[in-house]
């Protein structure tokens, strides 16, 4: 990337501005350090949670495939019509809770499925159903817990990724735009001040020479 030569416009080359700018540079540099630390911590968290997401996805795939085999078996034993009828008539005794947790300032969802108290674990009519249906339903219920956990973790991964991107953008803006611009302006003011100083010195010498020649001529 080409070094930026941009300066902050509308700033007068005075000593006061120079001091204020150096203060600003200190602040920006501190912000840059903090944001970089935040980004690095986010990335570490991201990788930890990413491997968990991967593991969970594999677990979901395995349990779900087992659950579907039981379901197909139930379909064979009970017949498609009967099973669909049971599914249609099903009731739910599950509670689904959603809360939010903060991971490094990023809100991530927490999902929890709980069985309602004093309610049956079976959600469909028991009349005339065989144990294969129970087995299938039980398997899917187990998978459901894993799916919900996977959803939670994948959502965390997504939100962390978005936060990393945002932080990265801010880190880069400070490093490649804000700080160079401040530095360029500081350099510009310093040069302008030096130039003014040289001019003053020159003027002084000039006046001194004039005065001296005047005195000598008066004396003479």
């Amino acid at each position: 990337m080409a070094e930026s030569t941009e300066i902050i416009h509308g700033i007068k080359p005075t000593r006061m501005e120079l001091i204020a700018l150096k203060e600003r540079r200190k602040l920006a540099a501190r912000g840059y350090e903090l944001l970089r630390e935040k980004r690095d911590a986010l990335v570490r968290e991201f990788f930890a949670i990413l491997s968990e997401a991967k593991k969970l996805r594999e677990e979901v795939e395995t349990t779900l495939s087992e659950a579907f085999s039981s379901l197909m078996e139930a379909k064979l034993v009970e017949g498609e019509m009967k099973l669909e009828g049971l599914a249609l008539g099903a009731q739910s005794f599950l509670d689904f809770e959603v809360t939010t947790r903060n991971t490094m300032g990023v809100p991530v969802p927490i999902f929890r499925i709980t069985q309602q108290e004093d309610q049956p674990r079976i959600h469909y009519s028991l009349a005339g159903t065989s144990s294969v249906v129970d087995a299938a339903a039980q398997k899917i219920r187990e998978t459901l817990d894993k799916i919900v956990r996977l959803a939670e973790v994948e959502a965390s991964v997504k939100r962390l990724a978005a936060e990393i991107e945002k932080t990265k953008r801010r880190v880069n803006a400070l490093n490649f735009v804000v700080l160079p611009r401040i530095n360029n302006t500081i350099r510009y003011i310093e040069l302008a001040l030096e130039e003014a100083e040289r001019e003053d010195l020159f003027r002084l010498k000039r006046v001194k020479a004039l005065l001296e020649s005047k005195t000598t001529s008066e004396l003479g």
Partner: protein
């Protein structure tokens, strides 16, 4: 207000999840019905999690991306009875590339 899970999938997926106690479920076999169902659940204040089969999700990727930009509902994609889609690119993979800037093996 109660919070709920919704399912969008083929008939067997929906039957399975209804038997396990998830009653907000829509049977869908094409992108049109899946899209309608998903948009409907996204509007539903009760729904915080939508479970959708990968097969359907692949067909309505744009709608999923759009809804995923909001905090809720969270959408989770699962295989159907035919198993994992082999050609499916793990949506997390793209995310990793964007966040970290490099491709990672195994994601």
């Amino acid at each position: 207000m109660t919070t709920k899970i919704a399912v969008i999938g083929d008939a067997d997926t929906v039957v399975g999840f209804r038997l396990a106690g998830i009653l907000k479920a829509t049977i869908s076999s094409d992108s049109t019905t899946a899209r309608t169902a998903l948009s409907g659940y996204a509007q539903d204040q009760e729904v915080f999690l939508v479970i959708i089969t990968e097969r359907l999700a692949e067909q309505i990727r744009d709608t999923i991306e759009e809804i995923s930009a909001k905090p809720y509902p969270v959408i989770v994609e699962i295989p159907d009875k035919r198993g994992r889609l082999e050609e499916r690119e793990n949506p997390l993979r793209r995310l990793v590339k964007r966040a970290i800037g490099v491709e990672l093996e195994g994601f």
